[in-house]
């Protein structure tokens, strides 16, 4: 067994051990979904960072820096700026009352089953797309590193994720996320320090070397031609910033802490960790260009990175620290994928079991034992569905699927959530129409845009000119919610929160 495989096995066994320990403390729905609200602020902050920093943030960001230079930082700024917005707008309000899911929260405001249905299905859609991205990424990574067939690789990953979640619920995923986040940041720190040391401990020397080694020259430190359409840039920025505020597996974490104060603290800790990570990633990306781009051991006969640009980080680890560092980084990357899959699975399972089954289909509270059993079955069902879809989507560009998830999150759940928390005049009908308008418009515009209509369907010109639909779908969702709420105001709303401002 190679060092990579041994380390990977060790981390998987550690994760399973944590899940078994968490299972002993997980009782009932409150324990399974929210860890009994007993997660501390710093633990939740690390777990939030862990949930957010997927392998795409590590491998994908460095790969993007390698191919498109500064564009990677444009993405980083957008995604980071969502965090202080999350803190200021949503963190404490989400935690004010004990809910299991965001759909719970909306249903308590409007008291209508249709609103819960809308929220739950849009959350499920986002979770599914995100899960597919992670499973495809994990499958390809294992295929490359351990020479296992893709199908076996994704089945293995899916099985481990089911074990983590079904056993220990939110407590297990929290412990796994904070372990993984610590390891990921440690790896990024090690790589960044190695690069910085080889650059004579000078950032300006590193930047000069990056320019010297890049085929684009000085343009590598400026926006690429992909950013030349101003409306594309604005739409991308809007989607990246607001997308975070609609991600169900992130929002769900605010139900796990004791009170609103802990929710705010955890969001702040997460922001700091992510800011640190993105800063280190900027150094790692530059290091990729300097130490990989002209090194024949890491390039194929056509001069492309072996395994694709997503493998830049792994090759860089080898360049800096040989097989040992590469093995450690590979094992941590795989753990990252597993942990994010576990977090997403829990968010999706909660929508399936709590929102759709318990609240909508069954309509009366089941026994705690039954609820827990349903949650575990929902976990299995969701992962099986994502597994099947990941086989179908195996050849698709992962970035497209990720962009789809963010665009849907920014356009569907976020506008309704924001208005529900801050605008008393939002009616149930307005929430429904706004939510569905955002969801449908974002999906439709992505399908009609260049990445799907042209690149996948093969048409000559797109029907919608932008890759990211946020600049249209987000305002459309807000407008639809406002218009319908104004035309059909709250008259039969059940349990409307009277303390909300006008």
């Amino acid at each position: 067994m190679s060092l990579s495989q041994s380390l990977l096995l060790l981390l998987v066994v550690l994760g399973i051990g944590l899940s078994f320990k968490a299972a002993q403390k997980t009782r009932g729905s409150l324990g399974f979904y929210c860890a009994n609200g007993q997660i501390s602020a710093w633990q939740n902050g690390l777990a939030l960072a862990g949930d957010y920093l997927s392998a795409a943030a590590f491998l994908g960001a460095a790969g993007l820096y390698y191919t498109a230079g500064y564009d990677s930082l444009i993405y980083a700024v957008g995604t980071l700026m969502g965090w202080p917005l999350l803190l200021l707008l949503l963190a404490d309000k989400l935690r004010e009352k004990q809910h299991f899911t965001v759909a719970d929260m909306l249903a308590s405001r409007f008291g209508q089953r249709s609103v819960r249905w809308m929220s739950a299905t849009s959350n499920l859609l986002i979770v599914l797309f995100y899960l597919i991205v992670q499973l495809v990424g994990a499958g390809k990574l294992i295929e490359l590193l351990f020479h296992l067939p893709y199908l076996l690789a994704v089945i293995l990953v899916a099985a481990i994720a089911v074990l983590y979640v079904a056993l220990g619920g939110m407590l297990a995923t929290t412990w796994i996320q904070l372990t993984k986040a610590s390891l990921l940041i440690a790896c990024a720190l090690a790589l960044a320090i190695g690069i910085w040391a080889k650059s004579g401990y000078s950032l300006s020397t590193l930047m000069q070397s990056t320019v010297a080694h890049s085929p684009s020259g000085a343009a590598v430190l400026l926006p690429s031609p992909a950013m030349h359409n101003p409306w594309e840039v604005l739409s991308l920025g809007l989607g990246l910033v607001l997308g975070l505020l609609g991600l169900p597996h992130v929002l769900m974490r605010f139900f796990t802490v004791a009170d609103a104060r802990a929710a705010r603290q955890s969001a702040c800790y997460a922001t700091g960790l992510i800011a640190l990570f993105f800063t280190l990633n900027a150094i790692i990306g530059a290091g990729g260009i300097v130490f990989i781009s002209h090194h024949p051991s890491y390039l194929d006969s056509q001069g492309h990175v072996l395994g694709g640009s997503n493998m830049v980080v792994l090759h860089l680890a080898h360049a800096l620290g040989g097989n040992i560092l590469q093995s450690i980084v590979a094992a941590v990357v795989f753990t990252t994928l597993l942990a994010v899959i576990a977090g997403l699975t829990l968010a999706g399972a909660s929508s399936l079991s709590h929102d759709l089954y318990t609240r909508l289909w069954r309509r009366q509270a089941p026994s705690e034992q039954h609820a827990l059993k349903v949650s575990r079955i929902a976990t299995l069902v969701l992962v099986c569905l994502a597994l099947l879809l990941s086989i179908l989507f195996r050849q698709q560009n992962i970035a497209i699927l990720m962009g789809l998830a963010f665009a849907i999150a920014a356009s569907g759940p976020f506008p309704v959530l924001l208005l529900a928390l801050f605008w008393r005049k939002l009616s149930a009908q307005g929430a429904l129409v706004g939510g569905y308008t955002g969801l449908a418009s974002s999906i439709l515009l992505i399908l009609l845009g260049p990445t799907v209509w042209v690149n996948i369907f093969g048409f000559a010109k797109p029907l919608f000119p932008l890759n990211s639909p946020a600049i249209c779908s987000v305002p459309l969702a807000f407008f639809a919610a406002w218009l319908v709420s104004t035309l059909w105001p709250n008259s039969e709303t059940h349990g409307a929160n009277q303390s909300l401002p006008d």
């Binding site: 930082l73 700024v77 920025g237 104060r261």
Partner: protein
């Protein structure tokens, strides 16, 4: 205070993406030995964290004042 902090997030973010969208050549302006683009991006990333810390600190001050 919350409105001020929200403004301090939204306005710089809008300006940053506006700069990339409509005046990208300004990002090439030299700052020490690198273009403006790099320190600007890193500054934006840490601005988000600084605002989070300020909000948290302000919340603690309010809690202390309420306890007196």
């Amino acid at each position: 205070m919350k409105v001020l902090l929200l403004t301090l997030i939204i306005v710089p973010t809008a300006l940053y993406y506006g700069l990339i969208a409509f005046a990208p050549t300004l990002l090439a302006y030299p700052v020490a030995t690198m273009p403006l683009s790099i320190p600007l991006a890193l500054g934006m990333i840490w601005l988000g964290f600084i605002i989070s810390v300020v909000y948290l600190w302000q919340g603690r001050q309010q809690d202390k004042a309420a306890c007196r």
